[in-house]
């Protein structure tokens, strides 16, 4: 018999009698399923969160912050500096020739959570060019707020989480504010966890004369550098200019690294535990089959096919475990809305955990490594089994 046919015969026989060793095999499957479920779940938080944060950024826009500010919440731009920035070169213009640029202001308001606790929510004041500036923001119900009136539009995450439907009233800064619209962004975004209103109205309610940041639409590919140079050469300004997509991605980078690190660390620890479990049950499987293996060797099968058959068993069980684990993570957590803070300065951002095919591949890869390592040593023992002694030994 050729080596290939030998391997096929032994592997096939071994896999067919797997059900007879169901309880020991189950240990490997469930152990690995646990590892993969935890790994994929934690990583799906990282993926969902960074997607949501990065979703607010576009390569076609630039963000202007006061010099040195690391976040929008740290930045302040005096009202007097706004015209200088607005009229700088590199900013796209609308059909009427006005620059597509917004000075934006942030505040936090408290909303009631179901259990009587209150939660912080970000309120963002935006300018009149908002529709041209952020075309991805679309109203799904109601209408746009009117400048000068205490009107708000609410991101769809907040509508669901805090019951802020059309016509609900919020009371802050000695005013009664009414929700006139619900908006959604085309891709998951940080904005979905925010409330938008007119910037001027917000500033006058809070009696403030400074904005947090400016967001502008860039005219073309080279416009960012043009804008940077122009603003740097203005002695009255001390600002930093970022491409919005780059800035947004950088915002979640640290948290993303931390979450991945946590996922790989916990997953790694659990993988070590599962590996020891797999080694134990495969050693047991090999010793339970020692008579069978010795018989195969005695009738002419080589050591190679026996080794391959043990490895194949281990891999099949590992992959089955990985699929079960990934399926558990997907069923339990895909789309599960959780919330996390980007920094202590900002209210938490709602994001949906996202189990992507890439994460499933990572899970299966880990499972295969555990299966290979866990199967290798028992397989070698199976291959080296002394035939005569194994045939003589009874139990």
């Amino acid at each position: 018999m050729s080596l290939f046919r030998q391997i096929a015969a032994v592997v096939g026989m071994n896999l067919r009698n797997l059900p007879q060793r169901a309880s020991a095999s189950l240990v490997i499957v469930i152990g690995i399923a646990g590892v993969v479920a935890v790994l994929v779940s934690v990583l799906s938080m990282a993926v969902g969160f960074s997607r949501t944060i990065a979703g607010a950024g576009s390569p076609d826009r630039a963000l202007v912050l006061s010099g040195g500010a690391l976040q929008e919440a740290m930045s302040s731009i005096p009202a007097g500096a706004v015209p200088n920035i607005m009229n700088a070169p590199g900013i796209a213009e609308d059909s009427a020739g006005r620059p597509i640029a917004d000075a934006e202001a942030l505040a936090q308001i408290q909303v009631q959570q179901g259990s009587g606790r209150s939660a912080n929510v970000a309120l963002r004041g935006v300018g009149t060019t908002e529709p041209e500036l952020r075309p991805e923001v679309r109203l799904v119900a109601g209408r746009m707020f009117q400048p000068g009136l205490h009107e708000l539009i609410v991101g769809r995450n907040l509508e669901a989480r805090y019951g802020l439907g059309l016509g609900s009233h919020l009371s802050f800064q000695n005013g009664d504010w009414v929700v006139v619209g619900i908006f959604s962004t085309s891709a998951a975004s940080l904005l979905d966890s925010q409330i938008l209103t007119d910037a001027q109205t917000l500033l006058s309610a809070y009696e403030r004369n400074w904005y947090h940041s400016m967001t502008v639409r860039l005219a073309g590919p080279g416009s960012l550098n043009q804008l940077k140079r122009a603003l740097a050469s203005d002695p009255t300004l001390h600002v930093d200019v970022y491409r919005e997509s780059t800035f947004a991605a950088a915002q979640s980078r640290v948290l993303n690294i931390i979450l991945r690190w946590i996922g790989f660390f916990i997953g790694g620890m659990m993988a070590a535990g599962a590996l020891f479990g797999a080694l134990n049950s495969l050693y047991a499987a090999v010793s339970a089959r020692s008579t069978e293996i010795a018989t195969l060797r005695a009738i002419g099968f080589g050591a190679g096919p026996v080794v391959v058959s043990v490895l194949a068993e281990s891999l099949v069980l590992a992959i089955a475990g990985a699929l079960i684990g990934a399926a558990c993570a997907w069923v339990l957590f895909d789309g599960h809305v959780s919330s996390m803070q980007l920094s202590g300065l900002q209210p938490p951002v709602a994001y949906a955990m996202s189990v992507t095919p890439g994460l499933v591949v990572i899970g299966i890869t880990w499972a295969c490594v555990i299966g290979m390592v866990g199967g290798l040593f028992p397989a070698i023992r199976a291959g080296r089994l002394p035939i005569a002694r194994a045939l003589n030994a009874v139990v």
Partner: protein, 384 residues
Amino acid sequence: MKYFRLVWTGLWRKKVRTIFTLLSIIVAFVLFGMLQGIDTAFKQMVDQGRLNVLTVMNPAGLPLPLAYLPQIEAVHGVTGATYRSLFIGDYQSLNNIVIVLPVGANYLALNSNLFSVPPGELAAFLRTRTGALITPALALRLHWKAGDHVPIHALNAMKKDGSPDWTFDIVGTFDMPGYPSRDESLLLMNYPYYDTARATDAGTVQMYQVDIADAAQAAAISNAIDNLFANSPNRTRTETEKASAQGQLAQIGDLDFFVEAIVGAAFATLLLLTGSTLMQSYRERIHEFAVMKTLGFTDAGVAALVLSESGVLGVGAAALGLLAAHLLLPAVGRLAAGQIPGLHLPWIVFAIGIGIAVLLALASALPAAWRVRQLSIIDALAVR
């Protein structure tokens, strides 16, 4: 005790298997210890929040006018009030982040149980306009000592002259006795220096701290303070320090849920692994148990032997795992750059861990112990 040798020998009957089982239990308890340790550290921040101290902040996340101070002090039941702001800066590079707290003149006096400053250094701080007190950790890391003149590059506090660089004269260090392993990069500065030099928001503070005589009056006094400013553009939100810490913790995310889910998954997997290993070991030793029963061991005796083997293995491994977690946690604290103060393995987590180990060990050995107990000598010896 005379059976300990028997248990011990039974345990090491198959060395490789026992070592692998031991390692997988150790791993689960390292995870348990570290996750619970981090969880407890967060909860301790809330526990350390005082009930007779109120914090007054602007619910909009904006500053409050300094002019509120006399009105707050005049509220009935208030024994003292102080204030602080906060900005973040770095020394030479972003690797050396320093958290700067501009504090009111009586801030350290009202918080003498949190910050301990030698009287001479406190006097020097209050005397020196640009004086600064730092944590010993910061002094050690940046090699600063009293008398040094140091520049801090502010990330969110511009000065009137357009520069973000603040210079300080170090006058001493302060300890934070309530926080055993706090590795924080704090710098305290005098409020007047901050307020007169900064470009924006002059005359405002980030928060007030209010001491009250009777913790039972906290809600009434909080309402009284909030009512004072209810019709101003800068409203206040007053709550106890504990409630404020709780609110901040709630904002971080659903931490508890994930810690419990992960620990649960790890333990369920472990129970299964250990249980199946013990069953294997039992099956291999059917003969031995039958022989022992023949020699006069009672049914309960052999069952107890099986349970003890599992108990010794489980508790021993759990203790080793928790010890490893205890040694690893400070390293995690260093990685988190002092973001999680007081990171250590509390005794209660250690005790709970051992308790869980006992339960796990008994639960996973129970099927095997039951089978051994029910074992009939004749049948067992007949099996070949």
